[in-house]
Assembly symmetry: C2
Homo-oligomer: 204 residues x 2
């Protein structure tokens, strides 16, 4: 299909598609003349992925890293996960002390050394902001987080497709970035309902 | 204490404190002369709360709503929760069809009618972005989300302090806003570790 058709099919404007082509997020189409190229189903799927990433707040440079991982995937699915996470994570803040984060990860029975620096930094940043905010998470709540998160993540990992590395990366990246807002939104709904159960008097 | 001391104690610059005073986020100090005022421990705590909110990406207008709720709290803790959530949520996008979100909430055994419009809209926005991204959450994963989230939220609600409405609001607002990044960061760490357990070959 021509670039105009690609725009119609995906809902992405031609100017934006050209921008993604210049930024090497989207591979060139097959040239049919000096000024014309045709695009296929792979371009449609790649465009949908790029839009999903950009809509989820992932920057162009990080999206390019994810796309590069798709085009040249590593062999071990476990490396894919770290790479995908690294691409969609903010840079590590060197000023942040990772000790509390490492302790928490260890308390949960895991080894901080096998995490990527971004994964540890993400926990460190969150703990730092909680502390600066004057908030403290009770032990029992923290324990419930461990149980709940493990339960959710085991189901997620079981569902990673093993058909191809490209499928696995797409699944991990989208499953991480796109599902995060859903989990937070569902948590708020759950808070409303559980608090209604506890305190009663839910007004209608 | 003088405003300069308040700045030292909280680490918030004097110019920023003056901005919060003008924006009515922070109550005036007690005037000691036409140009001088003194501030107390309540100002320190309020400032820490404001910083926590602003650092978590809450806008000035929403922070003002939260602060207003603290200064004039409703009686039912369950109303507090909806109000606190409303203040820290983006406005409802009227173009978004809430049907899928309502169905999901109902499937989880809850009544969408007792949710605030923002809570339903949050789920709708997340589902919409997942669909537009070409991602689908398997049934088994969705079921695990329900179990996991319920587990976490029950512990959270049990820990809401009942000492005063102000304590409860602060707890709910901070517990929602500040804890969200931690849950997402811990989910990524858990993904790394569970995937290591499943696929092995974690490199060190």
């Amino acid at each position: 299909m021509r670039i105009s058709e690609l725009a119609t099919v995906t809902g992405v404007p031609v100017a934006t598609i050209k921008y993604y082509l210049r930024e090497k997020l989207l591979p060139e189409g097959e040239r049919t003349s000096a000024t014309q190229a045709v695009y296929g189903q792979a371009h449609v799927e790649r465009l949908r992925l790029i839009r999903a990433l950009v809509d989820s707040g992932v920057g162009i440079a990080s999206a390019r890293q994810v796309v590069a991982a798709l085009d040249d995937p590593p062999d071990n699915p476990n490396h894919l996960l770290g790479m995908a996470h690294a691409a969609i994570s903010p840079p590590v803040d060197e000023d942040l002390d990772p000790t509390a984060a490492q302790e928490l990860i260890r308390r949960w029975g895991w080894a901080p050394e096998t995490c990527t620096p971004q994964q540890v930094a993400g926990v460190a940043r969150a703990l730092d902001s909680i502390e600066r905010g004057g908030f403290a998470i009770p032990e029992t709540t923290m324990d419930a987080y461990l149980v709940g998160i493990r339960q959710m993540v085991e189901a997620e990992i079981d569902a990673i497709p093993t058909t191809s590395a490209e499928d696995a990366v797409r699944y991990v990246v989208l499953g991480t970035v796109l599902v995060e807002p859903l989990l937070l939104a569902l948590r708020r709904v759950a808070e409303e309902h559980v608090s209604g159960e506890r305190f009663g008097g839910a007004d209608t």
